[in-house]
């Protein structure tokens, strides 16, 4: 049975987490905070600088790997005019039918999809590919199998070339769904999935464009809390319903807590991934633990609910200078979250590579499906802890993504 932090022993940070009794190798070596900050920092700089560097850096169109463009042009793929001509010769006029099916329609997936539109537009303009893009999401409970199964089946029947899917369905059920699609000639690319929870060999996909929920989200959030609270304090967790993301982030948080024994989880409640339930849950928890030092919402909506609960209770938000108040941290990296950070109602959030995932999905389609290149099964994207010190970077990146030149 999938359990929160199943099998992770609090006193052993290198213990491998288990699912249903089977040990899952998630980390090859124990990670420490210094390694994480080094990698995370480099990734954050790369994520922030990437589109800026790539956009309109002069007119050098001859360098291999240099992505340049004319004024106002953003080129996300490498290659100069000769490359474009060679690819165009092969792919011009190719019609590519793609399906995009997140687990629910939301601000988060909207931002990701708009980032994908940038890449799709570039594929069309540079290589003469015609893209047909469809979007569908389960309308009911996102954890039900049937709706996603039906969507994938319908698209496979319709001869789609590729399906990009983020599903809360269990691995076994997903494999069944994907087997039918892949055997029908449709490439299946997952996105935003905590693939680190399962062995690579068990996953019936062409690739997954994602991020490591354990290291890059749960552990990152726990480490940030530890830094800001100097390793001491009580945390209230407002968590989503049991599922992959909740499990993975919990594992990461537990690892951060194991490295910082002065931090304790005082209580945990189900916030349902929505603002109102998160608000109510945080209100109830704060009633019991008004001296809590941090509220960690597994997603931004619940963290913002926690922030509202602090306001209504007449408590203080975290002040970095004095170290007083309640720190609030979420995950997703939404514009609404960035706005809340700027106005002091949210301390931090985890930007989970939303834009990078969006861009990489069609890139993977291009390299893997259209050019026949091999891609890694798991393509983790750069993430970052976003607070007041760097919120402008990720807000501007997201604004850029939402201003895609074409809608599909």
């Amino acid at each position: 049975m999938n359990g929160v932090a199943a099998g992770v022993r609090e006193d052993d940070p290198t213990a491998k987490p288990t699912r249903g009794g089977k040990v899952t190798e998630i980390h090859r070596k124990p990670i420490n905070r210094r390694d994480f900050l080094k990698v995370g920092g480099i990734a954050a700089v790369a994520a922030a600088a990437g589109p800026t560097i790539l956009a309109g850096c002069g007119d050098d169109n001859s360098g291999s790997g240099a992505v340049t463009g004319g004024e106002g042009t953003t080129r996300l793929l490498p290659g100069g005019p000769e490359y474009d001509a060679a690819v165009r010769k092969k792919l011009e006029g190719t019609v590519v039918k793609c399906g995009f099916t997140p687990l629910v329609l939301s601000e988060f997936f909207d931002e990701m999809e708009h980032a994908a539109f940038w890449m799709l537009n570039e594929l069309e303009e540079r290589f003469g590919i015609q893209v047909q893009w469809e979007r569908a999401a389960p309308s009911g409970d996102f954890e039900t199998v049937e709706e996603h199964f039906n969507i994938v089946q319908n698209w496979t029947q319709a001869g789609f070339d590729a399906i990009f899917i983020c599903s809360a369905v269990d691995l076994q059920a997903r494999n069944e769904i994907f087997e039918a699609a892949r055997s029908g000639g449709t490439s299946v690319y997952e996105f935003n999935q905590p693939n680190e929870l399962w062995d690579i060999e068990e996953q019936n996909i062409d690739s997954s464009i994602t991020y490591d929920n354990v290291r890059q989200s749960g552990y990152a959030a726990g480490t940030y809390i530890a830094e800001k609270l100097n390793g001491e304090g009580g945390i209230l967790q407002v968590w989503g319903p049991s599922g992959h993301w909740a499990e993975a982030r919990q594992i990461g948080l537990d690892q951060a807590l194991a490295e910082n024994p002065g931090l304790k989880v005082l209580a945990k409640a189900d916030g349902g991934y929505v603002r109102d339930k998160g608000f109510d849950a945080a209100q109830n928890l704060l009633e019991r633990y008004p001296d809590a030092n941090a509220i960690y919402g597994e997603n931004e909506e619940m963290a913002l609910g926690g922030s509202q609960a602090i306001d209504v209770a007449g408590l203080k938000h975290f002040d970095e200078e004095t170290g007083e108040g309640i720190l609030t941290i979420g995950a997703d990296g939404l514009l609404t979250g960035f706005e809340a950070i700027k106005n002091g109602r949210l301390t931090a959030t985890i930007y989970v590579g939303t834009v990078e995932q969006g861009i990489t999905m069609p890139q993977t389609l291009f390299y893997n499906r259209l050019l026949g290149q091999s891609v890694d099964i798991i393509q983790n994207q750069p993430c970052a802890v976003v607070d007041k010190t760097n919120v402008d970077i990720y807000e501007s990146l997201t604004d850029w993504a939402l201003a895609s030149p074409k809608e599909y």
Partner: protein, 342 residues
């Protein structure tokens, strides 16, 4: 001297007690009091003013929608679309506020939206002769779909103002009393008075108890139906406006949970799915019970994975207690009456 009027409340004090306990919601109230006393003894933070104010503020949305649902159930119907109406009405108000429309006007439009959707429900049921369950199931999907299509999955945010915060209860009006508390109390009082003392209240009960007999007795049952759904829609709209103000965001799925919670509150409070039975007191206690359970789950730090099970067990216990105590008291008074007669 004329004899005492004969009726259910005449006779021995035990029969009077039996009559009171048999009223919808009373047994549940006893259950709630008992649970609260135990909870307070085990967890000191339960019996703080803060915690009870929080619970009251949290229950308001379930209560307002639950009152509408109770009245519909009494009238022999059921309104599955309330959650969707909450979402769309809240969305309308939020969107208008975000586009600079004054709060008063935005609220009026939001309420009219709920009223209009409720009237549509009533007309579909009465004019097209579609069963209540099917009709409101369809409008549930249509209305929710409208909100999804309008938002395209991206929530409305950043529309709140100081006035809206006050209206939504984020800032108290006086001491700890918030505007939604007053609104909910007013809605409950009006609904209770309507059901008890007005002809329309009698017509609603008659329609719910036996539609054909009510029609033969001269009750305009179609008009009653339309009124029921108009009222339910209006209250759902009102709840949506308050909820949108409380959250400062309108997600496409906002209010989706409220349908089942409203039905649960009404049923827990003694309303019958078959119609003709229910009370506003019952709806109040039912709504509070649901919020109380969630509060206890959080205060006692029950692992989230166990929450649905615990909540289900407690609801079941409340229903069993409610039913059992009513049966026990009725049997006791029946035996007493038979003993007296003998």
């Amino acid at each position: 001297m004329t004899g005492e009027p004969k009726g259910p409340t005449s006779g021995t004090s035990r029969q009077r007690i039996a009559a009171v306990l048999a009223r919808p919601g009373v047994s549940l109230l006893i259950f709630v009091v008992a649970i609260s006393i135990v909870a307070g003894l085990l967890e000191p933070s339960f019996f703080t003013v803060n915690n009870w104010v929080n619970m009251v503020n949290q229950m308001i949305f379930v209560l307002i929608v639950g009152i509408g649902m109770t009245v519909v159930l009494i009238g022999g119907g059921i309104d599955l679309s309330v959650g969707s109406i909450v979402g769309l009405s809240g969305g309308v108000t939020a969107w208008l506020m975000g586009n600079g429309v004054p709060l008063g006007a935005a609220v009026v439009v939001g309420i009219v939206t709920g009223l209009g959707l409720g009237i549509v429900n009533g007309l579909v049921i009465t004019r097209l002769k579609i069963p209540d369950f099917i009709a409101t199931l369809a409008t549930l999907a249509v209305i929710r779909g409208l909100l999804h299509a309008w938002t395209e999955g991206v929530p409305f945010t950043g529309y709140s103002t100081e006035g809206y915060r006050l209206l939504a209860g984020l800032d108290p009006l006086v001491w700890r009393i918030t505007v939604p508390m007053i609104v909910a109390a007013g809605v409950a009082a009006l609904a209770a008075l309507m059901l008890r003392y007005t002809s329309i209240g009698r017509h609603i009960r008659a329609t719910g108890s036996n539609r054909e007999a009510a029609s033969l007795a001269g009750v305009r049952v179609n008009g009653v139906k339309i009124l029921l759904y108009a009222g339910s829609g209006t209250l759902a709209g009102l709840a949506g406006i308050l909820l949108a103000g409380r959250l400062d965001t309108v997600q496409p799925q906002m209010g989706a949970d409220l349908m089942i919670l409203a039905i649960a509150a009404a049923i827990l409070g003694g309303a019958a799915l078959t119609g003709g039975r229910g009370s506003i007191l019952g709806a109040v206690v039912g709504a509070f019970t649901l919020i109380l359970i969630q509060n206890l789950v959080n205060l006692f730090n029950i692992t989230p994975a166990w929450e649905p099970l615990i909540i289900g067990v407690v609801i079941l216990a409340a229903v069993v207690f409610n039913r059992t105590s009513t049966l026990v008291v009725r049997r006791a008074s029946k035996r007493k009456a038979e003993g007296v007669a003998a």
